[in-house]
């Protein structure tokens, strides 16, 4: 385990050092990218100045809302759909091609329908994530052993209780995978919409900083988004690992 961690630390450290050398050496010019130590200093400044806090809070609230909607609706739809074989077979090709659809193209349509506010952004994040959650939920439910379903039948559980008490808890590792996907798509949807058209938010600020050659704001903000998404994803992965380990022992 520690050998793996050391390997990872060496890769990340090596990458940062390489960037630093390239920037200081002038291979990457200052307009393109400030050296990593400079970004780190700006990053600390950004977090201590508090000027960006409302933007960060706004984007994160939308990301979490889009995530929660996609997750709950996705699991509910997946569970409801699981019993209907023909409907599932029919929808299968739609699920398979869904991610080739440029969902962002519908953003202006949503702006016309709901106004230039948080609604369209949350909707884009939701639409991107929900299908991944449905597919992963179906995948998990396919693996529930027949004996568990029979037990639920014997205990005369209603379909809702069967899902809540038996099948969905069994799928917990799959539901965590679904959570990771929904979260990643919520970030993409909200930040991407803010790039295209918005009045506030982290994506909007990055776009604004980009047009003004303000690298001291742009790079720390990009770094912050990447760190937030990696940290949240990492927490879910860790939980997944704990869960799988516990099941392996049981």
């Amino acid at each position: 385990m520690s050998r793996v961690t050391r390997y990872q630390a060496a890769v990340i450290g090596g990458f940062v050092l390489l960037l630093e050398a390239l920037c200081v050496g002038g291979v990457i010019d200052k307009v393109t990218m400030p050296p990593p130590h400079r970004i780190a200093v700006d990053f600390v400044k950004l977090l201590t100045s508090k000027a960006m806090y409302p933007e960060i809070a706004k984007s994160m609230a939308n990301v979490l809302l889009a995530f929660a909607l996609a997750y709950i609706v996705g699991i509910a739809t997946g569970t409801a759909l699981h019993g209907y074989r023909t409907l599932r077979d029919t929808l299968d090709p739609l699920f398979a091609t869904y991610y080739a659809i440029p969902v962002f193209a519908f953003y202006p349509l949503f702006i016309v329908m709901f106004g230039l506010g948080d609604g369209p952004q949350v909707l884009i994040g939701f639409l991107l994530g929900v299908v991944a959650v449905i597919v992963t939920t179906l995948n998990g439910l396919d693996r529930v052993p027949v004996v568990l379903r029979k037990t639920a039948l014997i205990a005369r559980l209603s379909p809702l209780h069967t899902a809540l008490r038996v099948t969905l808890p069994f799928c917990a590792p799959y539901l965590l995978t679904a959570a990771k996907l929904a979260l990643a798509y919520a970030f993409i949807g909200v930040i991407g919409s803010e790039f295209i058209m918005a009045r506030a938010g982290m994506g909007y600020e990055i776009g604004f900083a980009y047009t003004n050659f303000d690298n001291a704001t742009m790079y720390p903000l990009i770094l912050l988004i990447l760190l937030l998404s990696i940290a949240m994803n990492g927490a879910l992965s860790h939980w997944e690992k704990v869960l799988l380990a516990r099941r392996g022992q049981a």
Binding site: V11, F104, G192
Partner: protein, 249 residues
Amino acid sequence: MTAGRRRPLRNAIALIAGVVACWQIAYWIVGNVALRSPLQTIRYTIELAQTSLFWLHLANTLQAFGAALAIAIALGLLIGFALGMHRLSADAMEPMLVALYSIPKITLYPILLLAFGLGMSAKVAFGAIHGIIPVALFTLNAVRGIKPILLKTGRVLKLDAKAMIRSILFPAAVPEIFTGLRVGFSLTLIGTVLGEMFAAQHGLGYLLMNAIGLYNVDVIMSVTFLLVVFAAVVNGVLLAIDRRLHFRG
């Protein structure tokens, strides 16, 4: 798996009918402000296809997509094989690749713009970064998951590294790798179009972004329609090949 031969066709027709019906109903609800009906969209698409400017944009997109896909597949396979054949590298790099896979790559577009400038190379790069990681991840796991007995057989036969990849690793890993290529295809396409939306002056993505700016609903609907049809057709073919490969193995 034992379903009849006719089932997939029947399902596809039912699905298309369902989608078109939903689309038409949505049009009736929303109206002309923000949507066009399926018939209007097809009519406008045909109209659009008669302009030479459209073909210029299409050719540009296909060119960028082709280049991005070639880079994504070549680099993805290279990274996947290199890491998959080495236990420690695979164990250490797999979680890092998964983390990279999950980051919103859309946030990186200003950096790519600064690095490559507005134009072809920026959108090729944007498409490629979307595709490389899934191809690499699937290849890595495919190579790592090869049954040890196959590798031992290769060693007994004293195969060198090149022969080992060509006659053992690659054939054994092909079904998984193909799944990676299929996922990589979709993501590279969406990446290229996104790249065009933010960082180009040609291509279907640019056409789309321009139409969003001008709020030209006809163009938005037509370009989206074309992209979805293209992706659906190619993805359907790839999915069929994918299933056949997995079924055989």
